[in-house]
Symmetry: D2
Subunit: 140 residues, 4 copies
Amino acid sequence: MAYTHPYRIRFGDVDHAGVAFYPRLVSYCHLAYEDFFAEELGLPFHEQFITHRWGSPVVRLEGNFQAPLSHGDRMEIEVRVLELGRKSVTLRYNLKNLSKKTEAAVIDVTHCYVSMGDFDSIEIPEPIRQGLEAYQKRCT
Amino acid sequence: MAYTHPYRIRFGDVDHAGVAFYPRLVSYCHLAYEDFFAEELGLPFHEQFITHRWGSPVVRLEGNFQAPLSHGDRMEIEVRVLELGRKSVTLRYNLKNLSKKTEAAVIDVTHCYVSMGDFDSIEIPEPIRQGLEAYQKRCT
Amino acid sequence: MAYTHPYRIRFGDVDHAGVAFYPRLVSYCHLAYEDFFAEELGLPFHEQFITHRWGSPVVRLEGNFQAPLSHGDRMEIEVRVLELGRKSVTLRYNLKNLSKKTEAAVIDVTHCYVSMGDFDSIEIPEPIRQGLEAYQKRCT
Amino acid sequence: MAYTHPYRIRFGDVDHAGVAFYPRLVSYCHLAYEDFFAEELGLPFHEQFITHRWGSPVVRLEGNFQAPLSHGDRMEIEVRVLELGRKSVTLRYNLKNLSKKTEAAVIDVTHCYVSMGDFDSIEIPEPIRQGLEAYQKRCT
């Protein structure tokens, strides 16, 4: 089963229109990303970064926003592996509005990997690849 | 000539790696968007929203990130009209790193228009369409 | 017993130095504030705002920061009622770093109350006062 | 004369009530802080941090908020040195709402200095002290 990250839209997230400001929806994905690695794969992001000096900059982002998320709405962010290459991975985030029973947004984020010393591109580190592959199997 | 919005990457914008966190690059586009309407088209965003009750939610977002923006880097966000439909407009933001002489990112953002009372879809309001069309001509 | 809000410092929260940027510590307090009202007092903040049209702008803020919160640290925000007046309330937030076993920060935030129609000052609405008074008793 | 940093309250800064969310007012101070050092003292913050490895964590924060800043308001942040010690400095930020002709907020922020290698406390680095002292004289 796919990992889901629960969230409730708070006052500080919404704009003058009372709906979540779209750059914030992108931030939520990073929140889900970090917690997915820590809780589902057992690879806390800060250890990847601090201990192993692996960075995972975003190279591509695609988002489709179908329905607004309003102040107080409960949502759920489902994380899936859309494409797993040798040097990059694309994760898909489905933002579901549980309060309104709508699909709020689908956001695909592609990360490559770099060594933090020189920011040079590297292959996806082995423990991360293994974790992502095992997760893909669990999801299907 | 295309409108450009200047910005310098500040401490509060960068992450642990010292580079601008990608959801923040999306926020910069909204900054450029608001200032483009106010300064280039003479249609301040808060008047659109407060006086006319027009909303312009984002329905689609596509970003390609080519090079990191680091703490202290000066950048420039160039705004262009990529596609102007009857009910939606896609703006392209070119984020240029002036300090490093690199193209940092290209981000396309599609807005539709709604009336704020009921959030119902409307055609692009006439003054906005005229402003965008005239701007397109000035740019070519 | 005092209400506590758990939080883990994430990549998107830390700055170039790897520690939580101080304006973000203030944001965490608002997060704890909203969840405290929803979970502990049963008065969801968005209902106060949307249904009752009560606003609670901050009039005073005082923070003392004793120890940094680093990327990956687990923390806990304890919420206490420091002073409950007729028209304003001061809440104290103790930010405890569970990973490092340090007191990270103490932040006091004073809210007054206004009616959202005209932004005129009002007394603390009765259900909120009762909730806060009962909570004070539970805490001592 | 005191250094002032101009700013306009944008859509992405305001909350559901249409006024700037208070943690964001604190962020504005950091914006003014960075630009004050770069533009007024000629000591760009990223050079302090990256070249010299000086950090300046905030140890104390005190804010008084007198009047709301609304979407579209033009403001000005005036920076003054309130207290200059051997190891810490307190800067005062006066947030003036130029559109409404009100004093919106006064925020005092105390920074200490640390060497980034070990986060050990250090005296205010000499170039910074000199810059701040000279600025204090220019202001009176």
